[in-house]
């Protein structure tokens, strides 16, 4: 009897505890949830509202103009150029980081000497600020009066007998192929000045991708590969049919992480080129900053910010929702 009593008392107490604990749990997460609700969703709503007013000048205006500001910015050649640049930057940055990251991960993973040293060197730029990266690479890619009186990396090429490698780098004004299309107020193609910026960004982030892939590679059980090898598979076949598919989730994470960094890129470009030459390396983040705070066109700046947000959301939201669904299934 006594025993039965304690047994029955126990679950009751547990249930009461559970209720209290649930309340505590909710109370613990509430401040964060509230902060995010205000600082993320509230502010986004506020910015969305600003983007539909005619706020110009230093005093706030609240008269509603609908989507006029969006029409205005999409019709300017400058914003169209920004979008082009952003696409080029993102594509090159993502592709290079993934390829180089994977390559380095595979090499570091191939039982080499001084593995730790190589790995550490490849990853260290990740610890730096984009501002530091920008300041240093701005120097490296300042072409000087080349080919005769070069500076930076051009000078290094000249001194090491590789003078033919000299280029205009960040001052290259070409857009390749630079097609003109009726109704589009920018030249379609790859702005060459963007390449050095991509190099600097890849320098900074590819080590991070390598680390991610390395983690993935180390997580693949050696037995599976060994079994395939016993069955007569070549190393390349093992890599293609076992390693790569198993790394897919990592690639997806990397794309999301790099993708959103890329779509938001600001610091690096401000320091390295400031958007020059012309607007050839300017991205929406810079444009927003300049028209908002320099030209006092707050409403148009807000519209640019909202466009950036939508682009990032288009990349990220499906991933987040997909992630959530698979989690629930698990």
């Amino acid at each position: 009897m006594r025993q039965a009593k304690t047994l029955s008392a126990h679950p009751a107490r547990r249930v009461r505890w559970m209720h209290r604990d649930r309340a505590i749990a909710l109370a613990m997460i509430a401040p964060s949830a509230l902060a995010i609700a205000v600082f993320v969703y509230g502010f986004i709503g506020w910015t969305a509202y600003i983007s539909m007013t005619d706020w110009r000048g230093l005093t706030m205006s609240t008269s509603f103009v609908g989507f006029d500001n969006y029409l205005t910015i999409f019709n300017t050649g400058r914003f169209q150029t920004n979008i082009r640049n952003l696409i080029v930057f993102t594509a090159f940055f993502l592709a290079s980081c993934l390829v180089i990251g994977l390559l380095l991960a595979v090499l570091v993973d191939s039982r080499i000497r001084a593995e730790g040293f190589f790995r550490s060197v490849y990853i260290f730029p990740m610890a730096l600020s984009f501002i530091v990266t920008g300041v240093v690479w701005q120097w490296l890619f300042a072409p000087g009066n080349w080919p005769n009186d070069p500076t930076g990396i051009n000078l290094l090429f000249k001194q090491s007998g590789l003078g033919f490698l000299q280029a205009a780098w960040t001052t290259d004004t070409n857009v390749v192929p630079g097609w003109r299309i009726e109704g589009v107020r920018t030249r379609i193609g790859i702005p060459m000045a963007m390449i050095p910026v991509v190099v600097a960004a890849v320098w900074q982030m590819s080590g991070f991708v390598m680390a991610m892939y390395l983690a993935g590679l180390r997580g693949i059980p050696e037995e599976i590969k060994e079994a395939a090898r016993v069955d007569g598979a070549t190393e390349w076949q093992v890599f293609r049919t076992i390693t790569l598919p198993m790394l897919q989730p990592i690639t997806l994470s990397a794309v999301i992480i790099l993708g959103h960094i890329s779509l938001k890129i600001f610091d690096l470009i401000v320091t390295m080129t400031g958007g020059a030459p012309g607007n050839n390396t300017e991205v929406p983040g810079l444009y927003m900053y300049e028209i908002t705070f320099k030209a006092n066109k707050f409403a148009e700046g807000a519209a640019v910010a909202m466009v950036m947000l939508v682009v990032v959301a288009l990349l990220v939201a499906p991933y987040l929702i997909y992630n959530r669904r698979t989690e629930v299934e698990r």
Binding site: L58, G278, I291
Partner: protein, 434 residues
């Protein structure tokens, strides 16, 4: 065992971090970081003063410090906070300033170009009128009426001009010109003749920067002045101006040819770097405001020996001016200290300390001319006698929304040299003339 090692490491890390923070606290608190909440009714002659500007380069910073030194002598107990933000000919500084104003944290006094740029701050209710102050100090009697006109808006005076700069100046390397038997070009045609000769000798004819984003727009305003003449030039920046005028295209053509005679790495150089190319003898000429003179001086170069000056090609007899001024913030944290600063800015003593170093001429007509060097004496004379035109790039002629569009049109032009595109962009930009 693994986790305890982790914990220890984390513990050490956080202790280190805290120690660092504690150390961090010490040196920072010894600095006179007066909190904004500190009473502004500081004892007379004490307290704090925050001056906001974008003067960080050699001569500019020297001039500002010279004024600070006088201020400190006059008010030994006031701590001056020198709030400078570098880069982009004030672009970065203006951004910071605007967020500060938006955030309700104005500096006591900030640098603002006299003219249209000033009006946007007035419209936003960010400035205190200074008409009475001008009368008390007698500034209205010693500053040229033309200048007073530029700082008067809605019937009140809003800022104290500290200097006058000239925008349309051609700086050249004397040695290069002598060695090649050249004289500084007076007209646009002369310029191209000289440029051709220099290029054949392997010298960069014209050094142009771009990193600060105002260099090509600056060059272009001199070209516009040369093509349009002072009267028609001034009309270009009035509301409803006619940018379909064929002379716009003509100016763009000239600017394109000029840029073709310049260094190709424009976008990676600031204006000072371009000036340095002239000083180093790598380039022969640069068209820049006379803050370049201040830069040359700070580098130890001698006017008339290392470098010479002339009006930008085709603009002889016209003085394209701009003026730096300081205003009083509405709700300034330290208004009394700020007024003492403004009094110094407008005083003969302050201007004569600042301008010879900055490489600009005083905004007062009664300055001690003997304190100024050869170039500045020439410039003082020119300002008094030549026709005047306001600079657009430096805030005298047009509002900031227009300047941004104009500036971007020309920065794109500096990159792609597309005359049709720049003409179209300039026509578009004219919508922002208000």
């Amino acid at each position: 065992m693994f986790t305890t090692k982790w914990l220890k490491l984390f513990g050490i890390f956080s202790i280190l971090a805290l120690v660092l923070a504690a150390c961090g606290g010490a040196p920072a608190t010894t600095q006179p970081t007066a909190a904004p909440s500190q009473p502004t009714t500081a004892p007379a002659g004490g307290g704090k003063l925050e001056i906001f500007s974008w003067w960080t380069n050699g001569g500019e910073a020297d001039g500002l410090n010279a004024m600070f030194d006088i201020y400190k002598q006059q008010n030994p107990n006031i701590d001056i906070v020198n709030a400078t933000v570098a880069g982009g000919a004030g672009t970065n500084a203006k951004t910071v300033l605007k967020t500060r104003l938006q955030g309700g944290q104005p500096p006591d006094s900030w640098q603002v170009h006299a003219g249209k740029e000033l009006t946007s701050y007035v419209d936003a209710g960010q400035m205190e009128p200074l008409t009475q102050f001008f009368k008390e100090q007698g500034f209205d009697k010693v500053m040229p009426p033309k200048l007073l006109e530029q700082i008067t808006y809605n019937g009140e005076i809003w800022s104290v001009p500290v200097n006058i700069h000239r925008s349309n100046v051609l700086w050249y390397n004397i040695k290069i010109f002598q060695e090649n038997g050249l004289t500084p070009p007076k007209t646009i045609d002369d310029f191209f003749t000289v440029a051709e000769t220099l290029q054949a000798k392997g010298i960069i004819p014209l050094a142009v920067g771009g990193k600060d984003k105002f260099e090509t727009p600056h060059l272009f305003e001199s070209v516009l002045l040369a093509v349009f003449g002072p009267e028609d030039y001034a009309k270009l920046f009035q509301p409803g101006a006619d940018w379909n005028d064929p002379r716009v295209r003509q100016a763009a053509e000239i600017a394109r040819r000029m840029l073709e005679y310049s260094n190709s790495d424009r976008s990676s150089l600031g204006w000072a770097d371009a000036a340095q190319l002239v000083l180093d003898g790598k380039a022969a000429m640069t068209i820049m405001g006379d803050w370049a003179h201040g830069y040359f001086i700070s580098k130890g170069a001698k006017v008339g020996v290392d470098y010479g000056y002339a009006a930008a090609p085709g603009t002889e007899g016209v003085f394209m001016w701009l003026s730096d001024s300081f205003g009083l913030a509405k709700g300034a944290p330290n208004p009394a200290q700020a007024k003492a600063w403004l009094a110094l800015c407008g005083s003969r003593e302050g201007q004569d300390a600042f301008n010879p170093k900055k490489g600009s001429i005083p905004a007062r007509t009664d300055a001690d001319v003997s304190l100024y060097d050869e170039y500045l004496q020439y410039s003082i004379k020119a300002f008094g006698s030549e026709q005047l035109a306001p600079s657009v790039v430096h805030g005298a002629a047009a509002p900031e929304a227009y300047m941004t569009e104009y500036g971007n049109a020309l920065n794109v032009f500096a990159s792609d040299l597309d005359v049709d595109a720049v003409v179209e962009a300039l026509q578009d930009a004219a919508k922002d003339l208000k």
